[in-house]
């Protein structure tokens, strides 16, 4: 199938830049990737799609010299090459832009860009020249950051652009972008896609990995699908619909990704927050939540959604006119009083704020509900193991061994563990920030199912999501935030991607006087 697809591919006239032939990687007895043959040509965007664990990351690392292949060969301009390491690959013109931000937060943008390759004049570091070139390359990627800005002060999206700027500082022939938009909101994604197109115009060959199939469709010239460490095939982008891509990735027909919408609930709100002000008014808002509904909070990244909810939980300085849970006043609250009142918050930052990546699964699972699992002061190990076995079964957490560290799990399984952790105390109100960031379709679908089930069981759920289809697919009601204020409430048929985007960017309700 792949050979046929390749033969159909257009743009054969373009010069080949990087070609892989029969690339494979085994660790011990485990084959993670086998027989991958593809090429990346100058001036094209070649997208790689596949579920988590399909071998995308390994492929990236093989192509960029981070890992050496067990089998197969690489060619640049039809000459066989073997990269010793990432530096070697970079000097040959292939650079990988990592999905995770790998920048030193305390250094300036310029210092980060030139880290390890500082420009000098004699013995002295030539800051002026570096600042100049940094500003030039920042302009090229459309970043508003400046050379002298401290990277730690930049928003996530800007840091991502700095990473890309770092990659194109020298003239690269091939750039590998590993899920560059995973942490970006919609308008930032649009800007990034434009930057990638510009780079393509400039003759750069781009290998583009993304979970977001709409981006792939908007951007790619050709698409290669991986599944279970093997190549399904390469197709011209024009021949694949998003649905077809997803089906090729999963290897089966997609059942409905989102659960059916639940009947509209009425009645008294279980949670009502009045004029919650976070961090001196940078973010504020009032909202209510009813049992049996999913309230979605939309808006761009950086619009203040996470800050508002972290403020509600006392994780940031905040004050409110009133916070009522089931009619009980808990205006003066802390994380602990909220948890006691039946509220839990599942953070968007899985590794930084959610899980102890160096600790085994059981301590992670029970950390939040430690008092519930262990009524006395002494730990009840047997109960912990039983709870873990229960959670692994209930949330379909896939692990070979229960004694693994949480950091060893795949992203999807980490997210399920985190969900199991916050559900340990049997909360009545569950707030989930980015329920499925960076996890594959199979796990996403399962997590949607868990959310649907808990809401049908009478719990209330609030989700923050930057993925429009998710927000629209899950929510019974949507509040849109812009610059730290709620600007629109969408209900029923008003909930669609256009209306959310319109409110998030203009700050106005799409249909003035709509039902609310």
């Amino acid at each position: 199938m792949s050979a046929q697809a390749l033969a159909r591919a257009p743009s054969c006239a373009q010069p080949l830049t990087l070609r892989a032939e029969g690339l494979g990687k085994t660790y011990g007895a485990i084959t993670v990737l086998s027989d991958i043959s593809l090429d990346i040509r100058a001036g094209e965007v070649h997208a790689i799609i596949g579920e988590n664990g399909a071998g995308k990351s390994t492929l990236m690392k093989l192509l960029s010299g981070h890992v050496r292949p067990t089998t197969g060969r690489l060619f640049m301009e039809e000459e066989a090459v073997a990269f010793d390491d990432a530096v070697d690959a970079e000097s040959a013109g292939v650079v990988l832009v990592h999905q995770e931000i790998l920048l030193a937060p305390d250094l300036t943008v310029a210092q980060n860009l030139f880290l390890g390759r500082e420009l000098t004049r004699g013995f002295m570091i030539d800051d002026k020249a570096m600042d100049r070139r940094t500003n030039a390359v920042l302009a090229r990627v459309g970043s508003v950051a400046r050379a002298s800005d401290r990277v730690g002060d930049l928003a996530l999206a800007q840091r991502q652009l700095v990473q890309i700027a770092r990659a194109i500082l020298e003239d690269r022939k091939i750039i590998i972008l590993d899920e560059p938009t995973a942490v970006l909101a919609n308008d930032e994604v649009t800007a990034l896609l434009e930057i990638v197109r510009n780079l393509r115009e400039q003759g750069v060959g781009i290998l583009y990995i993304s979970h977001r199939l709409n981006e792939v469709q908007a951007l790619a010239d050709r698409i290669t699908v991986l599944r279970d460490g093997r190549m399904v095939g390469t197709w011209p982008a024009s021949e694949l619909s998003q649905r077809r891509m997803a089906e090729l990735m999963v290897g089966r027909e997609l059942s409905m990704l989102y659960p059916e919408k639940r009947p509209v609930v009425t009645g008294e709100p279980i949670l009502s927050v009045t004029n919650l002000v976070v961090e001196d008014g940078a973010t504020q808002g009032s909202f209510t939540l009813r049992a049996g509904e999913v309230l979605g909070i939309g808006g761009m990244i950086g619009s203040g959604r996470t800050e508002l909810l972290e403020g509600l939980f006392g994780l940031r300085p905040s004050h409110a006119d009133s916070v009522l849970v089931n009619g009980c006043d808990i205006t003066h609250r802390s994380v602990r009083t909220l948890m006691a009142a039946g509220l839990v918050y599942l953070t968007e930052d899985r590794k930084g704020k959610g899980l102890l990546v160096d600790a085994p699964l059981a301590p992670n699972l029970t950390l939040q509900a430690l008092d519930g699992v262990n009524p006395g002061i002494v730990l009840n190990r047997r109960r912990e193991v039983a709870e873990l076995e229960q959670a692994v079964a209930n949330f379909d957490i896939r692990v070979r061994s229960l004694t693994l560290d949480a950091g060893k799990l795949s992203g999807g399984n980490q997210q399920k563990l985190l969900l199991a952790k916050v559900m340990m105390s049997d909360p009545s109100i569950v707030i989930i920030d980015e329920p499925t960031r960076g996890i594959d379709i199979g796990n996403k679908s399962q997590i949607y199912g868990f959310i649907d089930a808990m809401v049908r069981a009478g719990k209330a759920c609030l989700i923050i999501s930057s993925e429009m289809p998710e927000l629209v697919g899950l929510s019974d009601r949507v509040l849109v935030m812009r610059e730290g204020r709620f600007v629109a409430e969408l209900t029923g048929t008003e909930i669609n991607e256009e209306n959310v985007a319109y409110a998030a960017t203009t700050g106005r309700h799409a249909q003035a006087g709509g039902t609310a």
């Binding site: 660790y27 011990g28 007895a29 485990i30 993670v32 579920e51 988590n52 664990g53 399909a54 279970d228 994780l315 994380v335 602990r336 948890m339 918050y345 953070t347 930052d349 930084g352 704020k353 959610g354 899980l355 102890l356 990546v357 160096d358 600790a359 301590p363 950390l367 939040q368 430690l370 008092d371 262990n374 002061i377 002494v378 730990l379 896939r398 692990v399 070979r400 061994s401 004694t403 693994l404 560290d405 060893k408 799990l409 795949s410 952790k421 594959d440 199979g442």
Partner: protein
């Protein structure tokens, strides 16, 4: 999907953890073996008991330090605090002796525990409420406590009242069923420490705060209280060490406990506790304290190396231990 790949790494990793956990005990066994080969006197019961008894102070303080370090903190003030607590305790005992006789010892010991706990609380509160690096805070209190003991002794010696010496003497020199009291006391502290760190919710929270304070905070753990309490535990351990120490010399001086903080941190780190927090090893810490004292003893007995170089060897050990740890964990 990724299940198979994850599954295969599990057994490898588990055996590596065990190996790294055993390292301090293997090192301890090796050093004892070397000591036995070098000098036949080393393995004598009298010598071994003497060494173990001498290591008791560092071991007891290091158990407290295991809590502090496992929670991601550091306490440099323990040596000075030990001297300060010793001084206060002797003054209290001397003051109470005329009225209460030998009971002054018990009351003085109580004063020591309270003062130790308060010193630790002071460190802990400045660190958590003041949000200042533990390194800086305890560097400051290290100087403060040291100056206090120098002031209290007027630069000389603060002796325990003669009337109390005879009654207090057995706490260091006495023994029960052949086991010296300091060793028994150390054993009790070890068991208590291991129980609290491994078996209680508080211990779990200590480790989680050290592993990732943000995760702990988001999980509803009161990070400030957990951290502050580790310093209180540290202060109590310092006080227990002081109670065992006083009968040995019968006086406090400006050099009491000097540089003990280095030995304590060395013992904790070579025992396998991570300096960045997130893992605490009580028994490893005890092995670490024994290693330090036995090496000093072997050097004194062997005549091959000057005993003035003991500190150099102990310093080298912490570096070697860290290198060994790096090699076993990066493989």
């Amino acid at each position: 999907m990724t299940i198979s790949a994850v599954g295969t790494t599990a057994p490898v990793r588990r055996s590596r953890i065990r190996w790294a956990d055993l390292a301090p005990f293997i090192a301890l066994a090796l050093i004892i073996l070397v000591g036995t080969l070098i000098n036949t006197n080393f393995a004598s019961q009298a010598n071994l008991l003497n060494v173990i008894t001498r290591s008791a102070f560092v071991a007891i303080i290091a158990i407290g330090a295991t809590f502090v370090i496992a929670s991601g903190g550091l306490d440099l003030s323990v040596g000075s605090m030990m001297a300060f607590v010793t001084g206060i305790m002797i003054m209290a005992m001397n003051g109470l002796a005329p009225a209460y006789g030998a009971w002054a010892i018990v009351m003085g010991a109580g004063v020591a525990l309270v003062v130790g706990a308060l010193c630790g609380l002071f460190n802990g509160l400045i660190i958590t409420i003041g949000r200042i690096e533990p390194f800086i805070v305890t560097l400051g209190t290290m100087g403060i406590f040291r100056a206090f003991i120098t002031f209290m002794t007027d630069g000389g010696s603060l002796p325990l009242d003669r009337s109390l010496r005879e009654a207090y003497r057995p706490v260091y020199f006495g023994s029960f069923l052949g086991v010296p009291y300091p060793v028994l006391i150390t054993f009790v502290v070890i068991l208590l420490g291991a129980f609290v760190l491994y078996k209680t919710k508080y211990g779990r929270r200590v480790v989680s705060v050290g592993s990732n304070a943000e995760v702990a905070r988001f999980s509803g753990v009161d990070v400030g209280t957990v951290r502050t309490l580790t310093y209180v535990i540290q202060g109590l351990c310092v006080a227990v060490a002081a109670i065992c120490y006083v009968p040995r010399l019968g006086a406090a001086t400006p050099t009491t406990g000097q540089l003990w903080e280095l030995q304590v941190i060395t013992a904790v780190v070579i025992g396998g506790t991570l300096l960045r927090g997130g893992k605490g090893r009580i028994w490893g810490t005890v092995a670490g304290a024994l290693i330090l004292e036995i090496i000093a003893n072997v050097m004194v007995l062997s005549d091959m190396v000057s005993e003035y170089l003991v500190a150099a060897v102990q310093g080298a050990i912490i570096i070697i231990a860290m290198l060994a740890h790096r090699l076993t964990s990066s493989r």
